[in-house]
Subunit: 434 residues, 2 copies
């Protein structure tokens, strides 16, 4: 008897949760030890058998004043978890591929095969000023660099074959030199000799994750990604994206199941509908105008909205080149279509920021997840808790058991690596002899 297709679940963790006023929520933990909160959240997600925890990133305080760097954070979490996957973001725009290949390989060794790299290009213009560049790198160039960056990183990950380390104390042979290879990459952006100084990943190589929605971003994902995070407010939008992206795989010789699509879900869960709505209203009341304006300003392309009347309409804004064009367009249309004021618009996005949003009982949330999962909108979801850790606990304690009752989410881990949780094949090293 074959098991029905299984959902993947990620815990997309942001300090204080995803609601812009989550930090003010009564039981949100807000102290000087941010790692303690992430540790509790990761252990909650692991106890619920999530596939992974996930951290976004930007190399500028403009995107969030003070947090932890994803690779150091995930490595610390690796030591206090056993099975859950560990996905971190690192930009290809302001990094060197040798460092990135090495850090994810090292995380993969420490976690015994649980690491994933969310390969992004930098979409926040203020990042360039922290790396000596006079202006933001244009979209097309960022993607060209990202494509080559991917080749270098995956090339370095193959420089050690599986089983290279013989550990033969008796004969004095530590490793088999014939299983060590150089890379000698020479390209437009990078020249990298190799080999990498970390052994081959226990899962073949770290899982490649992406989140770009632009035409170029989708094409890069179709060629190289194994998981894609995405944001859709409606099933029809999710279905269109899902079909489009899966449809691009064949020309790269890939099967549909080799790439998992995981939209975000922002849910506020109560034992009753009224309880869920009360939590939501409490959060919305805590949104102060300054934070609301800052959030909306960031989402529509780093504009300062403070000069405009907060209860007036959204002003006309030029399109940006900051990688958030699709979101900017979505929000502008939403405001125009529903005649929303600036305040109404920021309250609308204060939680889900354009992601699927469900406020309701465990059954309501599970219904929505199952609908998207079974009707071609998603292979899984990235769960965006509104505050931490209570907002995540509501999901793991109330929604997960409902998904398990329906037979679409695991009740225990079947494998030990992130790749195994996601149902992705272990890649073969390019140098391996058949």
């Amino acid at each position: 008897m074959s098991q029905p297709r299984q959902l993947s679940l990620g815990a997309f963790l942001i300090r204080n949760g995803h609601h812009v006023a989550g930090w003010r929520y009564p039981d949100n933990v807000l102290d000087d030890d941010p790692f303690a909160v992430y540790k509790e959240a990761a252990q909650l997600a692991e106890a619920a058998h999530f596939d992974a925890v996930f951290f976004a990133d930007a190399v500028t305080a403009a995107a969030g004043p003070a947090g932890l760097e994803p690779l150091t954070l995930l490595s610390a979490l690796a030591a206090v978890t056993k099975r859950i996957g560990l996905i971190g973001t690192a930009t290809t725009t302001y990094n060197e591929p040798y460092h990135i290949a090495r850090k994810f390989a090292s995380l993969d060794q420490i976690s015994r095969g649980r690491s994933g790299w969310n390969l992004v290009t930098s979409d926040n213009a203020s990042e360039s000023a922290n790396f000596g560049l006079p202006q933001h790198v244009p979209h097309a160039e960022r993607y060209a660099r990202a494509r080559e960056f991917y080749d270098v990183v995956t090339g370095l990950w193959d420089t050690w074959e599986e089983g290279a380390f013989l550990n033969d104390k008796e004969k004095g042979i530590w490793f088999d030199r014939s299983k060590l290879h150089t890379l000698d990459h020479h390209g437009k952006y990078f020249n990298v000799a190799g080999p990498l100084n970390v052994a081959r990943s226990p899962q073949g190589r770290p899982v490649i994750v992406q989140a770009g929605g632009s035409e170029t971003g989708r094409e890069l994902a179709a060629e190289t990604a194994e998981v894609v995070f995405t944001a859709h407010p409606t099933l029809s939008s999710a279905q269109a994206f899902y079909q489009d992206l899966k449809g691009r795989l064949a020309k790269y010789g890939r099967q549909p199941e080799s790439l998992k699509i995981m939209p975000g879900i922002f849910s506020i869960v109560g034992r009753t509908q009224a309880e869920a709505e009360a939590k939501f209203n409490k959060l919305q009341e805590l949104v102060d105008p300054e934070s609301g304006l800052a959030l909306l300003g960031r989402m529509i392309g780093n504009f300062d909205l403070s000069p405009y009347p907060i209860d007036g309409p959204l002003p006309e804004l030029p399109l940006t080149d900051n990688g958030q064009q699709s979101r900017q367009k979505l929000l502008t249309e939403l405001a125009q279509g529903e005649h929303l004021t600036i305040r109404q618009l920021y309250l609308r996005i204060a939680g889900g920021r354009g992601h699927l949003t469900v406020i309701g009982t465990p059954e309501t949330v599970a219904d929505k997840i199952q609908e998207w999962f079974e009707q071609g909108g998603a292979d899984g979801f990235n769960v965006m808790a509104p505050w931490l850790p209570g907002g995540l606990r509501d999901f793991t304690e109330l929604v997960v058991p409902e998904l398990q009752r329906r037979g679409i989410f695991r009740t225990q881990y079947q494998g030990s690596t992130l790749r195994e949780h996601l149902g992705l094949k272990k890649p073969v090293n390019r140098y391996s002899k058949a």
Copy 2:
């Protein structure tokens, strides 16, 4: 009653230990989970109240085929230790200061004030080829870049003042904007806007460690370092270095106790002298010519010695520009002075590599430590276990109690940060009002 001056002890950890044949030693743990070994070693060092664990680094497989990257490794260790300091190496030659400032700040947050940065310039010529450079960066330029790199990193660490986060849920004030500063650094090598996106370090800032022995390296250390790791085979050499370096502090307005000098010590400890010597002989017998030649070749400036007769004299070698000139000179003089063959020379350095080497009982080792400590050779030692974890356990179980009996090493931690363990002052933020 004032306590006598206290030693500092670091555990300088290398996979398989510091002896070139350590990996072949019977109880050296050699498996596919290197983190497990480091975790055991760090917990041993913490149980013995060491100040810190320390990891060297190079961004090339030429310096060691496969290990773990120090920042990911230290972050994982932060989660499974409580008090011990965590010192990692990161080169200023092939990194960007924003990333380095951020990663050590993040490690400092995760560990609640236990991180230290060993600021180095890259001395391995093969690293350049992993970062697109046609040739090794010359010594003088590496140091000029390192000096500016230090300014940027420490500047970024000051962009958040202490107490900036108010966490006032009631009033809706997360942090005090008047305690957030930009950097706006404009220099020869770097232009960095800031601010950093990690809050101020719990210990003011991570501890700055260095290990350079050249004239330029000593001057940089005198101006900027708080701990210096160094290698000396004899007390007179250690005393000369100690006097020289401490003597340079005054012109930078610094007190002698603001910089701690810690030579390495390679010890093989037995309950009797015969037991210690038996362990050492066992290790020496396990040195195969290939590893011995490779080690010696690396130490004298990355030369391939395999074409020369192994039982003949060391050939004449040109001086290198790889930052190991002082070590190359030391070894050449040693070989000439004692008429050593290539084989005899690599066996001579197979363990301590030019560091203080003691093979003996706990009393013998403690005598040597106490002598250097009390006669102006050292403020503490970096303990280089010959293999892991047994070689470290010999030190923590046999030598540490002897040092404690003599009243020169702590029997419990007094503070909670690395800076407190080392007896270093907490730096004042440049923006703080008196």
